[in-house]
């Protein structure tokens, strides 16, 4: 069975995560599309911390018998991986766009210089 303290601490941490992400969105420092994964992470972790019997059941499904909160770590780690992967795609796209901008800029500058 999950110790009560673990559930409380995990719930507080999840709420903190959600609040921080919401504040970042509100103040315009984080775009919604990139915040979505973080919000889902926070909500899922919050649900799993509060819904204690559910956590035990899920732990049973995946064969964790001794320490159900390990599910919290696993889910947390999974979401962090997803977020990182998502960022890799974002960076790749930005990189391509950056290259294209540099090329267009260089060609435009060249045209301007030859005109003057």
């Amino acid at each position: 069975m999950t110790p009560l303290v673990v559930s409380i601490v995990a719930a507080i941490a999840s709420v903190l995560l959600i609040v921080v992400v919401l504040e970042l969105i509100r103040s315009g420092r984080l775009r919604e599309r990139y915040a979505l994964l973080w919000l889902v992470t926070g909500v899922v972790l919050l649900v799993l911390s509060l819904w204690r019997s559910g956590l035990n059941t899920i732990a049973g499904w995946v064969g964790i018998e001794t320490y159900p909160p390990a599910v919290l770590f696993a889910v947390g780690a999974l979401f962090v991986l997803l977020v990182l992967l998502h960022y890799s795609t974002v960076i790749s796209k930005l990189h391509d766009q950056n290259t294209m901008l540099a090329q267009r800029l260089a060609l435009l500058e060249q045209r301007l210089r030859e005109r003057s």
Binding site: A102, Q103, A106, L107, Q110
Partner: protein, 262 residues
């Protein structure tokens, strides 16, 4: 030799074709010592060639050296790597209506005196892209003048074998950047060109787009200044990366070449 090539026209161009406008694309990164020689050698081969030097974010006087000789200079605001630089050249060639492009690297390893042989199959409309190969035999015999480290040659032959398998024809020098291209090939590469070490993946692109590719035996020179962009450990990384890119490239959606604006 030079005059013959200058005069020749694409086969079947009986309807009084305007001479194809030609351009030499010279990618250069910190090549202030070499780039002037390269420009002069291209002019010595054929003064009608337009020359565009793509300065890939050099921190030395590469651009100034090229401008002094009257070449068109496109200065990238920061270093994009050879793929990004060469693509810039293709874009320039496409946007300015050139029908024929050759790539001659600014480090001097490509000898402009050999452009005649490289251009021949493209001018004769037998190929959309001709690639200068260090490893293809000349008619007379072996073309083994190329000196390179054993590891690098082994790497090249692994790539050559893989590429040959993928494009179902013999490719001996898939890393060669010494190339001549017609407008069809220019339009394709202006739209999309691989990054980092692009020639290998480009060979696959050419195959997927059903362009005609041919290899021409050439000799390359030692780099007169500067260092090769590929070190020992880096070349292993390069191999793995290129093989991965080739594999992924097989399943990638084809890009659309740039459209001609009428």
């Amino acid at each position: 030799m030079t005059e013959v090539v200058t005069e020749s026209r694409p086969a079947g161009g009986s309807a009084a074709p305007a001479a194809v406008r030609r351009i030499a694309i010279v990618p250069a990164f910190n090549e202030q010592e070499c780039v002037a020689d390269v420009i002069e050698e291209i002019r010595a081969f054929d003064p009608d060639f337009a020359i565009v030097v793509v300065d890939d974010g050099s921190t030395d006087a590469t651009a100034a050296a090229a401008e002094r000789l009257g070449a068109h200079v496109v200065r990238l605001p920061f270093n994009l790597g050879i793929g990004g630089a060469v693509q810039t050249g293709f874009r320039y060639a496409f946007e300015n209506g050139f029908g024929l492009a050759v790539r001659v690297d600014g480090d001097g390893q490509h000898d402009p005196a050999q452009l005649g042989a490289l251009l021949a199959p493209v001018l004769a409309d037998e190929a959309d892209i001709a690639i200068g190969s260090r490893f293809r035999e000349t008619l007379g015999g072996e073309s083994e003048s190329f000196r390179s480290s054993r590891t690098r040659r082994m790497g090249i032959s692994i790539l050559a074998w893989t590429v040959s398998l993928l494009v179902r024809r013999r490719v001996t020098d898939p890393t060669s950047g010494f190339q001549a291209l017609n407008r069809r090939a220019i339009a394709l590469f202006a739209a999309d060109y691989p990054h980092d070490y692009p020639e290998v993946e480009a060979a696959l692109m050419v195959h997927k787009h059903q362009l005609r590719m041919t290899e021409v035996p050439v000799q390359m020179r030692e780099r007169s200044a500067g260092r090769s962009s590929i070190g020992a450990l880096a070349s292993v990384y390069y191999m793995v990366k290129v093989l991965l890119a080739l594999f992924v490239g097989l399943f990638r959606k084809n890009v659309t070449p740039l459209e001609e604006v009428k």
